[in-house]
Amino acid sequence: MNRCAIVLAALCAIAACQKPPKPGEPLRGLSAAERARFDSGRAVFDSVFTPETGLGPLFNADGCKECHEDPADGGTGDEVERHATAFRAVPPSGMRPCDELAAQGGFVFQNHVTPLLHAALGIDSEPIPAAATAVGRRTTPLILGFGLLDAVPDSEILAYADSDDRDHDGISGRPNRFFDGRLGRFGRKALVPALREFNDGALAAEQGVTTPAVPTEETVAGTPVPAATDPAPDPELSAEKAELLTAFVRLLAPPAPLKMSAEAKHGRDVFAHVGCARCHRPSFTTGDSPIAALRHKEVFAYTDLLLHDMGPDLGDICLALATPTEFRTEPLMGLRFKKQFLHDGRATTVEQAIQQHGGEGGRARDLFSALPAADRAALLAFLKTL
């Protein structure tokens, strides 16, 4: 064997043995420049803001990592925030059914205020206006692999939509839209069309950190914060740093599924058989991307990124086109790292979460409940590999 063949064989062996990325690590196959941006972006993600560097005056967390920390950067956390909107099935003339209460500080109502804002207004959190018809609790989503979800073409998502349930399978799936008409995909109600906007919006709404994309602070119930309570000049984070932050999130690898036991493999079949996979679609294929590691990749997210009616027991707020009972199918990738389940964390186990599915998820729930114990255990074993 000549020397080239030996080197080639060694490289192939190394590639074959390469372990999948751990949570918080980047996608495999990044260029040196992409890796450098990922590393620089992590520093922004790990930043802890203070009022002097831009935090607040209204905020839910003092940095991305405060919430997205478990088991690593980009993971989940135990924080729960409040969203509130007003929904009227028969709206007043000239109004949409859903009022996001944006003119009254909504729809994110921050849990914390800075000492200066507390001193000025005597509040500890942003008050929810009387006009709200519902308050939704929201847990922290894992954002690992979101760069791949961002790279899924709209057409892939819309191909699964069946708003009027024309195939009569009891599963509709309809797209939500942002206010400018673009297809949404991020957030529990699929409001946000793109990852960059998801991050820029989070900087403002979750941390009170302004950027060139979102140059104004959140209001207190519609009234601008008193100027003296906001010492940092706007924008509080530069466009460059905001872009690095998004580069970091975009390039975070999705959680690698664990190796499946025979029981888990059987559970995967049960998952499909009882109909879970009709909404929790196993995979999407990304489209073109300037980043090779995101281009034409299959991402096993177990979601269709569409809205489904989950029944009145789970319902809370409306958002854009989403009614109170409609939620985007939650991606199941990284499920094993979660400690609270469903959009508001009301379920403490995966089994509880399944049992609380209603509406379009009701049939799959009932089929799950009727399974022999061994099949139920197998399905749960499969989910624990994700």
Partner: protein, 131 residues
């Protein structure tokens, strides 16, 4: 600049003008590059129309940071329906909540005043990002 970023900048300059109208002690230390916008545009969904006052409220924003821009609409402001055809004229009363519009406007002491309004389509059926 990425198109989404460009659109984002356009969306959120309007609230910046509103915020800039508030007295702020930090204004003295603000960077000289802070935009002092006289003319701008916004793209978003019609939230409410008040025909009596001739005002239009547009919901816009970035991600979870949602804003509402309120515009006065003088009677002579051209309103066109791009969804129906290039520059097809329409009336303010024909706009409906949930319509996606792009409005060009300017700041006045009384608030924002629309120069032009284009209806691009409906939220419920979607509108291309490029439009």
């Amino acid at each position: 600049m990425h198109p989404a970023t460009r659109v984002s900048l356009l969306f959120l300059i309007a609230p910046l003008v509103l915020a800039a109208q508030q007295p702020k002690t930090r204004a003295d230390t603000a960077p000289a590059t802070r935009p002092a916008v006289a003319h701008d545009s916004v793209r978003g969904a019609v939230r409410a129309i008040d025909m009596h006052a001739r005002t239009l409220e547009v919901t816009t924003g970035i991600g979870f940071a949602i804003r509402v821009v309120k515009l006065q609409v003088p009677a002579d402001v051209p309103i066109t329906d791009k969804a129906r055809g290039q520059d097809a004229p329409m009336k303010l009363a024909e706009l409906k909540a949930g319509d996606v519009v792009r409005a060009r406007f300017g700041g006045r002491p009384t608030g924002f005043v629309a120069y032009t309004i284009e209806r691009l389509g409906k939220m419920s059926t979607g509108v291309e990002a490029k439009q």
